[in-house]
């Protein structure tokens, strides 16, 4: 091998900071071959098996579905359809426990299988894909429901569309499989190396990338050998390199693998496309090949069922939607000293409390750990600031500082220390001598920060609205004042220019108001001559008159004059009988009423 491929020996590899050596435990499950699984009685297909919006179910309870048929359509761009992974009848569309760290339930389509495995009509194979536009291929990948199979389950078609701003020069294929225990990618590379290479060929064409680097940790010699053979037989061997990388957790992290293979760092908060790289899992590459060359949707995947609490650790080829209990039963069931059941690997997986959860497109491993394998870390001691976490952190963070500020809920400081560059790989918690559940604190702080961000957005929105309202009211007030002022000035000018002012008024409405005003003024003047001060109490009933008189008597008793006792616009009205318009504008009802009566 080496003689024909001297380049492998000379390729320079880079290192990322930190990382840890953990017992890989691959030997438990990497012997033998991938076993088929019998079709389960029931398939539980979550509508959200990917990052993004949940898919929209397009079948009804009672519908008969065929294997490979779309049962839920994507809703939005970042989404993926869901296909029936066997034929049968839809018996429920309801919330079921799903593999999720929260342990909550989510909407699922439940199919009772008929055991006949009748295929739906699949889309045409696109064997001459090199003559096709990348957009057509992306649509096929999307229609087949392909998502990232390394664990993140990001819709692959979206990742394959980096846009014109980001020309892609390198495709990185992730065969590192750095999590301990998991061997499904190892088996995939050993058994389906040809399909992986086909997938690579399609992806290279689709992305217009120059080269492909396939990174595999050197604890998988079988996979490396098999992939090298497949490469040698492939017609793209000049553009593809199989690179054995040192075994060091978490070298299979996307950003870490890119660093190891190319020396480039994906910018913080950025994506690999920004440095001209797209990274896909080996399983995803095989799924792309299936989608394009066979028209087969993603309805099956390899799953490792392992851990010392499982009787016969194995790798299984599983229909998406198969309940975990079926896989465990096929592997001989669980032993008595089971401590926990984990979906995913021991470093980043999450504990599941129900065997009813289904296998999803992203579920690579079911891990049954014994007490010896996953002992209770005991109560956390105080942090002694030893800095082992910082030595182990692959993102070069200072985990002890993050912990300090996360614990004191200082969300600003925790972000100053770049909380969001944390990939939650668990290295820090693994090496912590105080057994502090560090990752838990970081997840908490991230969730709190997101929540606060939302709150802040809401508050900012409300504040903006409030400010706009105040401005509007101020503006209206200003306009009103301006109107009043012009009116007042008009009223003031009038006595001087009485003769010509009236006929010159253009607006008949204004003229009418002017006439009414003059009438009122004349009447008031006449009343004043008679010595009557205008009051708004003239036509009240006898009882009310008495009450008014009594009130005025009380006022006099406490030494208040009639006009002094009144405040505000009413007082103005009394003091300035010659300008009734002002009273009207500010509008106390009684004054208006008396005006009208007058």
């Amino acid at each position: 091998m080496q003689a024909t491929q001297p380049r492998f020996k000379t390729r320079r590899l880079w290192q990322f900071h930190g990382g840890i050596h953990v017992p890989d435990e691959k030997a438990l499950s990497n012997a033998g071959t991938v076993e088929p699984t019998p079709c389960p009685k029931f398939l539980i297909l979550p509508l959200q098996q990917h990052i993004g919006a949940p898919a929209n179910p397009i079948v009804k309870v009672g519908d008969r579905v065929l294997k490979g048929q779309v049962i839920a359509e994507p809703r939005g761009y970042v989404c993926a359809p869901v296909h029936a992974s066997s034929s049968g009848t839809v018996i429920a569309i309801e919330d079921r426990p799903v593999p999720h760290p929260s342990g909550l339930s989510a909407p699922c389509v439940v199919i009772e299988t008929d055991g006949r495995e009748t295929w739906a009509e699949l889309p045409e194979p696109l064997t001459d894909y090199e003559s096709l536009d990348p957009a057509v291929l992306r649509d096929r990948v999307r229609a087949c429901g392909v998502v990232g199979m390394g664990g993140a389950s990001f819709p692959t078609s979206v990742k394959l569309n980096p846009g014109k701003d980001h020309p892609i020069h390198t495709l990185v294929i992730n065969g590192a499989e750095c999590e301990p225990y998991i061997t499904c990618d190892d088996l995939l590379m050993r058994e389906r190396s040809g399909d992986v290479l086909q997938g690579v060929r399609i992806l290279l064409h689709l992305l217009g990338a120059r080269q492909c680097l396939i990174g595999i940790e050197d604890n998988k010699p079988g996979a490396i050998e098999s992939m090298r053979l497949a490469r040698a037989e492939s017609d793209i061997k000049d553009r593809v390199e199989i690179v054995a990388i040192p075994t060091l957790y978490p070298s299979g992290g996307e950003k870490q693998l890119i660093k190891v293979l190319t020396g480039r760092e994906v910018p913080s908060h950025g994506i690999p496309a920004q440095i001209g790289i797209v990274c896909q899992n080996v399983g995803t590459a095989a799924a792309v090949a299936d989608a394009v060359l066979l028209g087969r949707p993603l309805i099956e995947r390899y799953v490792t069922v392992t851990g010392r609490a499982v009787a016969k650790p194995s790798n299984l080829n599983v229909r998406v939607g198969t309940p975990a209990a079926d896989l465990i039963a096929q592997c001989g069931g669980l032993r008595d000293d089971l401590r926990k059941l984990v979906c995913g690997g021991p470093m980043m997986g999450f504990e599941i409390d129900s065997q009813a959860i289904p296998i999803t497109k992203a579920a690579n491993c079911l891990l049954a750990l014994t007490h010896a394998e996953s002992p209770d870390p005991g109560p956390a001691l105080p942090c002694i600031r030893c800095g082992r976490c910082a030595d182990a952190c692959p993102a070069s963070l200072l985990p002890q500082q993050l912990y300090w500020y996360a614990r004191s809920k200082d969300l600003d400081r925790v972000q100053d220390y770049n909380l969001f560059d944390c990939i939650e790989c668990g290295c820090c918690a693994h090496v912590c001598p105080s057994h502090i559940p560090l990752v838990q604190y970081y997840r908490y702080a991230k969730t709190e920060s997101w929540a606060r961000e939302q709150e802040k957005k809401k508050a900012d929105h409300a504040k903006a609205r409030h400010t706009a309202k105040l401005e509007r009211q101020e503006r209206q007030e200003r306009e009103r004042q301006a109107k009043l002022r012009t009116k007042k000035e008009a009223a003031k000018d009038k006595p001087a220019a009485k003769g010509e002012a009236v006929p010159s008024t253009e607006d008949p409405k204004k003229a009418a108001i002017e006439a009414a005003r003059q009438r009122a003024a004349a009447k008031k003047a006449a009343l004043a001559e008679q010595g009557v001060v205008p009051k708004n109490t003239e036509d009240l009933g006898a009882a009310q008159q008495q009450q008014v008189a009594a009130a005025q008597a009380r006022r006099r008793a406490v030494g208040l004059g009639e006009s002094e006792a009144k405040a505000g616009p009413e007082a103005q009205a009394t003091e300035q009988p010659s300008q009734p318009t002002q009273t009207k504008a500010t509008g106390p009802k009684a004054a208006t009423a008396s005006e009208e009566q007058a």
Partner: protein, 344 residues
């Protein structure tokens, strides 16, 4: 199933605080044996007292704080503090000074600041400095190494000295001696030249006779700690470099008023300080760059205080001074985070 779902990772933890502390104690054993051989039983008696007081004080405070005492005691951090304290003080220190020192270290310096992990100052060194300032005579009354002693103290003599304050033969002058650092300081203080001073049989190849070989054994333990990855090389190497550079510079300028750099390194608490005291994780810097600055500054300060300060040895003062600076140094020496531009 456990019932309580905990976050990843689910792997077994590979380190434990008590195991780390046990390794530190193991690494101190060669140095302790060497000192016991040179200075008699006093060190071991002091150590027994200090450890007992420390455990009692820790248990008492934890009880007052309404927290379980057992985990705090079994993490062995108080024991390490007590052992380091006992190594640092003279082997015939009266028992009640050990009591005062340990109570101050555990109750005030450690627990009043919040207990393990929260104390800004190294408890053993803070206690040492408290006693040195308050009881300078008792704290500088050392025994000569056995090859220079007219009369070595038996186990009974040591017990009587520590518990009753009784000198063997009735007078202390016959059995005590200044440390090489103290002697050098006194002699330089009366304007004698190094060549003259070194005529005395007190001096060995480069340090005080007997004394100069204690450091080796602590060095051995320190290398063990680095090998076991309990500590990293950064602080000790920077400490030693800081001390040697300062001492070497002044020695090169005037070798008659400044002792040979190796004298500084293998006298007093320099090696012990470099590997076991400055590396206390709680009170030291945590970033690698910060640790280099922290260690180098302590080394330089040790020379400065020894040469121009008021006390013959300076490790405790230098460590405490840099303890204050550690958080600031950490703040300004944060590593570049993955995917960030340098300097941003």
């Amino acid at each position: 199933m456990t019932g309580v779902v905990v976050s990843s990772p689910h792997s077994a933890r590979i380190n434990r605080v008590d195991r780390v502390m046990l390794q530190v104690i193991l690494a101190l054993i060669p140095g302790i044996l060497a000192m016991t051989w040179l200075f008699g039983w006093g060190l071991l008696i002091n150590m027994g007292l200090a450890v007992t007081f420390a455990i009692a004080a820790e248990a008492l405070v934890m009880r007052l704080r309404g927290r379980p005492a057992l985990p705090a005691i079994s993490d062995l951090t108080a024991v390490v503090t007590a052992v380091l304290f006992a190594i640092a003080v003279p082997p015939i220190l009266p028992w009640w000074l050990t009591l005062i020192g340990i109570l101050f270290a555990i109750v005030v310096v450690k627990q009043l600041y919040g207990g393990l992990g929260y104390n800004p100052f190294n408890p053993a060194m803070a206690a040492y400095v408290l006693l040195l300032i308050s009881y300078p005579v008792a704290m500088t009354t050392w025994l000569p190494p056995q090859m220079l002693a007219d009369q070595t103290l038996t186990f009974g003599d040591s017990l009587r000295a520590i518990f009753l304050g009784l000198a063997p033969g009735g007078t202390w002058d016959a059995v005590t001696a200044a440390t090489p650092l103290g002697e050098m300081r006194t002699q330089l203080g009366v304007n004698r030249m190094i060549d003259e001073i070194r005529q005395s049989p007190l001096w060995g190849d480069f340090g005080g006779r007997g004394w100069e070989w204690v450091g080796n054994w602590f060095l051995l333990g320190g290398i063990y700690l680095i090998w076991k990855r309990i500590i990293t090389w950064h602080i000790p190497v920077a400490f030693i470099a800081g001390l040697l550079v300062m001492a070497g510079m002044f020695w090169a300028l005037d070798p008659q008023t400044h002792p040979f750099p190796a004298f500084h390194l293998f006298s007093g608490g320099a090696i012990l300080g470099a590997f076991f005291i400055a590396t206390d994780p709680v009170t030291a810097c945590t970033t690698k760059k910060g640790q280099l600055i922290f260690g180098a500054a302590i080394g330089a300060l040790v020379f400065v205080i020894r040469t121009w300060g008021g006390y013959p040895d300076a490790v405790a003062f230098a460590v405490l001074l840099m303890n204050i600076a550690a958080p600031t140094i950490d703040y300004y020496t944060q590593p570049r985070v993955f995917g960030h531009q340098r300097g941003s």
